[in-house]
């Protein structure tokens, strides 16, 4: 049980608990804020898994822009954000069952597949920005270009959708 494992387990626990709170809180704002905690914990996990660039990108983009955008949207739409604003539909019991079953099943599959594997500390290749940049712009350059087109389309879509009037 190396130190990395212990910290990793703690950080994982934090992520899971905060995710649980995101899902069960009855106020949207609380849910959004707990999401921030979850994303932070996951970023930490990335660091522990020696994926530095991904961790920072996670923190920078995911927590920085996505959650902020989420909060802006909530405020702009003046939706009721008080207690009881994020209730549950009739579908909740069925949803619990399905979600639970999926989690257990995935876990079992993972366990069956990779139960005993161990990440070998010394072999780990740290995911520095240089290596990542090299990998993306040499092997993954096509998906990268496609991704830019997708982002552009999403941008235009969002603008068109939210334009007011003269429908």
């Amino acid at each position: 049980m190396t130190a990395v494992t212990v910290v990793f387990a703690a950080m994982g626990l934090v992520a899971l608990v905060s995710a649980f709170l995101v899902v069960t809180s009855d106020q949207i704002i609380h849910a959004a804020l707990w999401l921030v905690v979850t994303l932070g914990a996951v970023a930490g996990l990335y660091v522990l898994l020696a994926a530095e660039l991904v961790a920072w990108v996670q923190v920078l983009i995911y927590m920085g822009s996505v959650v902020v955008l989420l909060l802006f949207a909530l405020m702009l739409t003046r939706t009721p954000t008080g207690p009881g604003s994020a209730t549950v539909t009739r579908n909740q019991p069925l949803a619990t069952v399905v979600a639970g079953a999926t989690t257990v099943a995935l876990g079992a599959v993972m366990w069956a597949g990779f139960g005993g594997e161990v990440i070998d500390e010394d072999e780990v290749r740290v995911g520095t920005a240089a290596r990542l940049g090299d990998a993306i712009f040499r092997t993954w350059v096509l998906p990268f270009e496609v991704l830019s087109v997708v982002l552009l389309a999403a941008l235009v879509g969002a603008i068109v959708l939210t334009r007011r009037g003269e429908r």
């Binding site: 899902v23 983009i61 539909t89 594997e117 939210t162």
Partner: protein, 110 residues
């Protein structure tokens, strides 16, 4: 460090995300659920990338793409929620009442 750890965490996140999508009424909460599921997936990718010690860092590159896509997706998602809210006055996922039965309106019974 046992590979199972990140996998367990990602499964947990995925389950919770799925629960949120299936059970929450408010559209934004559904989007949050989707975010959690995406994170679970990218955590998994990174875990395998590290375990595999991939020279080309497939896992981590894909995680970057996932994050980019997640951003685009949340942008659009919120635009839709905004439009929905302006049109209907609430953005509940189960707002519409079920369509009336086609056979109700008399005549032509067998």
């Amino acid at each position: 460090m046992p590979l199972m750890l990140p996998l367990v965490v990602s499964c947990g996140l995925f389950g919770l995300g799925l629960y949120a999508v299936l059970a929450r009424r408010h559209a934004v909460m559904v989007l949050l659920g989707i975010e959690l599921m995406l994170n679970a997936a990218s955590l998994n990718l990174v875990a395998f990338d590290t375990w595999w010690a991939d020279t080309v860092h497939t896992g981590q590159s894909l995680t970057l793409f996932v994050i980019a896509l997640a951003a685009a997706e949340i942008g659009l998602g919120l635009a839709i929620v905004l439009a929905l809210f302006r049109a209907v006055g609430n953005s509940d996922v189960d707002g519409q009442e079920p369509p009336t039965s086609l056979l109700a309106e008399g005549g032509d019974e067998l």
